[in-house]
């Protein structure tokens, strides 16, 4: 098979609506669909296309199906959020939605067709024990983890191990901070709570600036970038919308308060590299200039945000992925902890490479 795939620039052009799917060759249309599914972006793509009926049947069918799925998922997010807000109202804890659930509940520009894998909420750290016991009484149970992962969550992370609802199977991530405790950075959580926006009874989302900050932190301090392009597209749309009514200075101030000036600059450079939109020029004039090794990091990030798939051209990114992995971890934890973490994860990674990815998973019941 001569596997031509699709270039990153063509994929991005379709996403930016400067290129139409109809104009692509069949091989590119096929690759576009494969890349979009791998990037968790086929729902977003389906929303961009005005008229799917002129497209080949596999694309039409996927787009119409993912539209149906995304509408159902939105209904589930709204219903689950309402349920959570009622359950935590009984212990006087406000429910602050984060990420995908917040975009959906707040009807943000990037919510159209955006799929989510779990619901994230932020609760005050002093309320964590009460929140956990209330959820356990209301049909939620903590996902069983191995000892290392349990310790990681409880001691170093900014969130609890995930909870799963017994009946609906919805996964819930309970955050008490936006940044890992081990990173040395702290975000003023009280400010996030003070500036939150009500979207229902006892139900809130962060202000637009904090939504952007959180999404950026998640992207830049994360070692898993399979959904990186989707996250960048979120940030692109959110910042573009923010600048219609808010100022660059107010956005920069939010990043500054969190000691994330460098991250803001890296983000702006990265978004410019990917989407190259006019508003980036004004932003670039207003952020710290990057040193050469920071430019290299932007380059590495650019090479890792695209999903791993054979259908994307020029997608050999092992070195870049390692660079981003190490950077993501070093930003989250001090060097000594990183060495300990990498020792454990590295050992498992080598075993997996030799004996297969599922080596550590329990055998299925016979």
């Amino acid at each position: 098979m001569t596997q031509t795939g699709i270039s990153k620039s063509t994929f991005l052009a379709v996403l930016n609506q400067t290129e139409s799917i109809e104009a692509l060759k069949p091989e590119q249309q096929d690759a576009l669909l494969r890349v979009a599914i791998a990037a968790h972006m086929h729902g977003i793509l389906a929303n961009i296309v005005d008229n799917t009926s002129s497209l080949p049947l596999p694309l039409t069918r996927h787009f119409s199906s993912v539209n149906t799925f995304s509408i159902a998922q939105k209904a589930q997010v709204i219903a689950t959020s309402k349920l959570l807000s009622e359950q935590l109202m009984s212990i006087s804890v406000p429910v602050l939605l984060l990420k995908g659930a917040a975009y959906i509940a707040g009807h943000k520009v990037n919510a159209k067709g955006r799929l989510i894998s779990d619901i994230d909420i932020l609760v005050p750290s002093e309320a964590l024990t009460r929140v956990e016991s209330t959820l356990q009484k209301n049909g939620w149970r903590a996902k069983p983890l191995n000892n290392f992962d349990e310790k990681y969550y409880r001691e170093w992370s900014h969130e609890l191990p995930p909870y799963i609802h017994n009946e609906t199977g919805v996964t819930l991530d309970i955050h008490h901070n936006l940044i890992p405790l081990s990173s040395g950075k702290t975000i003023n959580i009280a400010q996030i709570h003070a500036k939150k926006v009500a979207v229902g009874s006892n139900l809130y989302i962060p202000s637009d600036a904090y939504l952007i900050l959180h999404s950026a932190i998640h992207l830049l301090l994360n070692d898993d970038t399979q959904k990186g392009l989707r996250d960048c597209f979120d940030l692109h749309l959110l910042i573009q919308a923010y600048l219609l009514s808010g100022s660059i200075d107010s956005l920069r101030a939010i990043f500054s308060d969190a000691k994330c000036d460098l991250e803001f600059s890296i983000l702006v450079n990265l978004l410019n590299r990917i989407f190259n939109q006019q508003y980036h020029e004004i932003l670039l004039d207003n952020v710290k200039r990057l040193s050469w090794h920071e430019q290299v990091l932007v380059n590495s990030l650019y090479n890792t945000i695209f999903p791993k798939t054979d259908y994307l051209q020029d997608n050999r990114s092992t070195l870049a992925r390692q660079h981003v992995y190490i950077h993501g971890h070093l930003s989250k934890m001090p060097l000594l902890l990183f060495i300990k973490h990498i020792g454990y994860k590295g050992y498992r990674s080598i075993v997996k490479r030799l004996l297969g990815e599922t080596f550590f998973e329990p055998s299925p019941p016979k």
Partner: protein, 283 residues
């Protein structure tokens, strides 16, 4: 790379397909292609690790970036490919209402056997498919939400363990074929059965659902038939739905009209012939 067409969906198989090519040719006559076409689903057969290419080899199926199944020895690939093809439809196609059941058709009328795996639904439906009925699917009913009609797919049935020997004597004509047995999968021994030729499949049309049967198989019991309440039948069909809650209201409406027009029965049986006689009266 091989493209497999089920008449409704195109699956692209990538990676090392040598161990399954022969069986695929026999199970999917006139339905394989090496030419490029836009695929509904992309399934890649991947080696799990470098070391394992030499020692205790393992392969895993990467479906559009997901790996929903445990890795397997390359010799056990065929059933996994069949399961992956089912998984693709149930995970990605929400344009149709999908119900976990086998579907047998005669005189343009369909009978559905909703059930989880291991209930004998595939054995019975394959038996029917080899004895004057058309097997529309042994795994899921693909229902058009607007018309309520069930649509056929050109896919073989999958039989497990003792079902294989039960069905073997009925595979008789050149239009029918039973694959070699794959031994020792996590579901036991598996064989696949093609019940018709591609030419016959091409003549099939979507059709109305005349009856829904909930089956209880036990070789020591008498043949018993109960008509069940429409609302109970409705609820039981939903528990076998793959995407009922995803589609929501349109699925509810489609199912209401299906349940209202169909005969809904609970059937305890020991002999497949008894069920065949019963449903022949219903269509």
């Amino acid at each position: 790379m091989i493209n497999v067409s089920s008449g409704k969906y195109t699956y692209r198989l990538r990676g090392d397909t040598t161990s399954v090519e022969h069986e695929l040719e026999l199970l999917y006559p006139d339905s394989l292609s090496l030419q490029f076409s836009i695929a509904d689903f992309d399934i890649e057969i991947q080696q799990t690790s470098a070391l394992r290419t030499l020692l205790r080899p393992q392969v895993t199926l990467n479906i559009e970036g997901h790996k929903p199944f445990n890795p397997i020895h390359p010799s056990k690939l065929l059933p996994s490919i069949e399961w992956a093809m089912n998984w693709c439809v149930s995970a990605y196609d929400h344009s149709k209402l999908l119900v976990h059941c086998s579907v047998a058709v005669k005189n343009g009328k369909a009978v559905l056997f909703p059930a989880k795996s291991g209930s004998g639904k595939s054995t019975l439906a394959t038996f029917l498919g080899l004895n004057g009925w058309h097997l529309y699917s042994d795994e899921m009913a693909i229902i058009n939400i607007d018309t309520g009609y069930v649509e056929p797919v050109f896919r073989p049935a999958s039989l497990k363990n003792e079902s294989i020997e039960i069905i073997k004597p009925f595979v008789q004509t050149s239009e029918q074929y039973m694959s070699a047995i794959t031994k020792g999968t996590h579901k036991g021994d598996i064989a696949h059965v093609r019940t018709m030729s591609k030419r016959v499949f091409d003549s099939l049309e979507p059709c109305k659902i005349a009856a829904v049967l909930f089956l209880n198989f036990d070789k020591n019991q008498k043949f018993n038939v109960y008509e069940i309440d429409k609302s109970v039948g409705f609820a039981k069909i939903i528990t076998n739905g793959f995407n009922y809650s995803v589609i929501g209201e349109p699925a509810f409406k489609a199912l209401v009209s299906i349940v209202n027009q169909a005969t809904i029965l609970e059937v305890s049986y020991a002999q497949m012939l008894d069920v065949k006689d019963l449903i022949t009266e219903l269509v």
